[in-house]
């Protein structure tokens, strides 16, 4: 399997604090992977390094074999990476449809002159963006809410709209930062199926940050665990669940030894 995203030795520091430390990560094409870890483990910082919001001090990030670390966020998006945010960050005063149309921006070429003189290019661009946005609205189940201002949409709809906006740029890799934060188990289940469908029907590689273990264990093919900016474990859901270092990171040392004890007791 070829990898779509490779991070090598990525380090990001804020003053004296090392938020991400010598991180290596490989994301296989067309996979669903997760990054988990306790609060402050450096997961979102890592996302920000990938999307160009931060430039890492050391190491390199390659996407489809091109280096993307140090590029600007808009350049990274043009290459085919798109993201959502932990705390929803929609363009609150634009309509749902306009939000998605903004996401479609990398595929538009209309310039100042085209816009003022309504050239052929303007009409083609607008038509394409408009149709594409309507399609995505239906895809995420928001048909009929397109003219609503984003901030007036219910919470779950806002989450889905944010994903639709991220999909508008037609990414190869989609980064989802806690897509189920604040959702009830029912909605979480729906989101889980939705994410799976994204990969299966659109062939988009997905990298998640998530705290909901049911979701992580349910859909991830590969899980990487971060703690204090370092990767402490990696593997499939089963391996991760029984990894003592992971349990220690989440629940403390005592829990880890106890857990090991129960595990070995079960074995014998």
């Amino acid at each position: 399997m070829t990898s779509i995203l490779t991070a090598q030795n990525v380090t990001k520091q804020f003053g004296g604090l090392t938020a991400v430390n010598a991180l290596n990560l490989d994301i296989a094409e067309n996979s669903i992977s997760s990054v988990i870890g306790p609060n402050g483990a450096g997961k979102t910082t890592f996302f920000n390094c990938i999307t160009g919001f931060y430039a890492p001090e050391k190491g390199e990030i390659r996407f489809k074999n091109n280096r993307i670390d140090g590029l600007r966020p808009d350049q990274v998006t043009q290459m085919g990476i798109s993201r959502t945010y932990q705390n929803i960050r929609l363009f609150a005063n634009l309509t749902a449809l306009e939000n998605i149309m903004v996401g479609y921006d990398p595929h538009l070429k209309t310039g100042w002159v085209d816009a003022v003189f309504r050239t052929k290019r303007y009409h083609e661009d607008e038509k394409m963006a408009h149709e594409e946005a309507n399609k995505l609205l239906r895809f995420v189940g928001l048909a009929g809410s397109g003219d609503q201002v984003a901030r007036n949409l219910p919470y779950g709809a806002q989450r889905r709209l944010e994903i639709a906006r991220a999909l508008a740029s037609k990414p190869n890799l989609l980064l989802l930062d806690e897509p189920t934060a604040g959702m009830n188990p029912n909605e979480t289940g729906e989101m889980m199926r939705f994410i799976q469908n994204l990969r299966d029907s659109m062939g988009i590689t997905i990298l998640l940050i998530e705290h909901d273990m049911r979701l992580v264990m349910g859909i991830s093919e590969q899980i990487s665990v971060l703690d204090f900016g370092e990767k402490i474990a990696e593997g499939g859901p089963k391996e991760i669940q029984s990894n003592p270092r992971v349990i220690e990171a989440y629940l403390g040392r005592g829990a880890a030894t106890e857990g090991m004890a129960t595990a070995s007791a079960k074995k014998s």
Partner: protein, 555 residues
């Protein structure tokens, strides 16, 4: 049993009373006592006090739980107001406070007590206040349609009374109209509407509004029912009428009013530009006057004939205009580059600095040989267009209208394009906009450049309008005014720019008699507006587009 909200009624009465005392002590009551809205019946001074009571009483009524309690509440509010005014009268009569409050004069007491003095006048004062308060409550409990008609009717009477000169003076050139209007206004030295005029205006406005409210949906429906071609010709007729009015306006308005329109037009032009920078793109620019100055100065340097400057090229305006616009755009980009990474307050402070730098450079001795220093540039010749010399307000008007239409056209088209969406996305959340693939550098610079071009155009017209330009014409206050007008109109709203310019540029010109109190009223209005309608008078509309496609398919 519904509870009567005493504290609310009393509080509103006290607030209204304090406002009344303020109006009296700053001298507005005395100054405007001779200025009648309705001749020898209702003076401007009392109108202001009445409006204060009515607004407070209306609010008081709306805070009670039933209609009856509402009227009771508003009556009490009116009563408390008059008590406060009585206290004022008592203090003015008993103690000599004219040392501090120049306007606390016997005349003030006479006006407030209806020339009855203490204590008899108190009865009149309290009676009037209470009755007006009750009226305010009465207006509140009326059905909405009637209420709206009444408020509009009284509003228009006040407005027409205020604008008497402005309505009458231009009509002097049209004797028939002037004669026809003479019954409307008071005779001889009296100012204001005549009682008959006021009644007719009120009946026409209030009745018209009421009927329109009753039949609006019917009229709309019948227009909707018309065949497409009829609707279209109706629309063309409407636009045709509008164009005729716009073209004919300076002929009707005469010199002074056309001048007011021109000044407003220059502000609209700047407002449209700043609306792109601040309203669409969310880049708070406080140095916007810099581009206005630049447009004016480039025209000045290139076209002047004075011979005192090193560069007295004596170019034609039309030749210099593209250069002025180009200069403004270039400067917009040059100023834009250093502030690309700044946001919010920091951006505002740096652009504020830029605006001042331009003004101080224009003042400097170093550049004096080139641009005239504090003496400015004189002798800027008016341009000619198709044989017409654009040297008076009535001809310049057309140039300004053309400029505004161009700016309006460009604004609207940009707003509805990819660029407009990128600007708005950037305004909402810069980081996310960038993460969505928007090139922030290009998008920001295009906003600065477009805004600068409109402002430069405005400045270039100013140069030929005045014929002389001084650094003092480009003070910080212009930037602030333009910003205030787009905020009052509604940030990001194109029609809002027109509303804002009308309120903040045209009205102060028209209400010259208030000139002493202009800034006071201006400030108070802004504060009230920000409280009551923070989104502006004509807020930005969201576009309904989702089913656009579907309806087309259905056809």
């Amino acid at each position: 049993m519904n509870q009567f909200n005493w504290s609310n009624a009393v509080r509103l009465g006290l607030i209204a009373g304090i406002i009344g005392v303020l109006i009296a002590l700053v001298g507005m009551v005395e100054t405007f006592d001779e200025r009648d809205i309705v001749a020898s019946t209702l003076a401007m001074s009392w109108t202001m006090l009445f409006i204060t009571i009515l607004v407070a009483a209306y609010m008081s009524a709306s805070n009670q739980t039933s209609n009856l309690l509402g009227v009771a509440g508003s009556t009490i509010t009116g009563f408390i107001f008059s008590l406060v005014m009585c206290v004022l009268v008592f203090i003015v009569e008993t103690f000599d406070i004219r040392q501090t409050f120049v306007n606390a004069s016997p005349t003030l007491v006479d006006i407030l007590t209806f020339e009855r003095g203490m204590p008899g006048g108190f009865i009149y004062l309290i009676g009037t206040g209470t009755i007006v308060g009750a009226l305010g409550g009465g207006i509140y409990i009326l059905p909405e349609k009637i209420r709206r008609a009444l408020i509009l009717g009284f509003g228009v009477i006040t407005f027409v009374g205020l604008m008497e000169d402005i309505i009458r003076v231009p009509m002097r050139d049209f004797p028939t109209v002037s004669d026809a209007l003479s019954w409307m206004f008071g005779r001889g030295s009296e100012s204001g509407l005549s009682i008959l005029g006021a009644t007719v205006v009120f009946v026409l406005v209030a009745g018209g509004n009421y009927l329109w409210g009753e039949n609006q949906s019917k009229i709309n429906a019948s227009v909707q029912k018309m065949p497409e071609t009829r609707q279209r010709s109706l629309r063309i007729l409407g636009y045709g009428l509008l164009i005729l009015v716009v073209l004919y306006l300076p002929v009707v308005l005469g010199l002074y009013l056309t001048e007011v329109v021109n000044v407003t037009g220059l502000f609209i032009l700047m407002g449209l530009g700043l609306n792109i920078v601040v309203g669409f793109a969310g880049l708070l620019d406080l140095g916007y006057v810099a581009f206005y100055a630049l447009g004016a100065y480039i025209i000045g340097v290139l076209t002047n004939l004075s011979g005192e400057l090193t560069l007295a090229l004596g170019w034609n305006y039309w030749l210099a205009l593209p250069l002025a616009l180009f200069g403004a755009v270039l400067f917009g980009i040059v100023l834009g580059i250093p502030v690309l990474n700044m946001r919010g307050d920091y951006l505002a402070i740096v652009t504020l600095g830029f605006g001042e730098i331009i003004r101080i450079m224009a003042l400097s001795d170093y550049l004096k040989p080139h641009i005239g220093g504090s003496q400015g540039i004189v002798n800027i010749p008016p341009p000619e267009f198709l044989g017409v010399l654009l040297n008076k307000p009535q001809t310049l008007y057309y140039l300004i209208v053309a400029g505004c239409l161009l700016a309006l056209f460009i604004s609207q088209r940009l707003r509805d394009s990819r660029l407009g969406r990128s600007w708005k996305a950037m305004r909402e959340d810069e980081d996310v906009a960038q993460a969505m693939g928007i090139n922030l550098v290009a998008t920001k610079l295009l906003a600065f450049a477009t805004g600068a071009a409109f402002s430069g155009l405005s400045g270039s017209i100013l140069a030929i309008k005045l014929g002389t330009i001084y650094p003092h014409s480009f003070a910080l206050l212009i930037s602030i005014n333009v910003l205030a007008l787009i905020i009052v109109g509604g940030l990001g709203s194109i029609p809002g720019v027109f509303v804002g310019a009308l309120l903040l540029a045209a009205m102060p010109e028209l209400l010259r008699e208030f000139s002493e109190y202009r800034l006071l009223i201006y400030g108070a209005l802004l504060v009230v507006m920000m409280q009551v309608r923070p989104e502006g008078f004509w807020p930005e509309e969201t576009h309904k587009r989702e089913f656009h496609e579907a309806t087309q398919e259905a056809k």
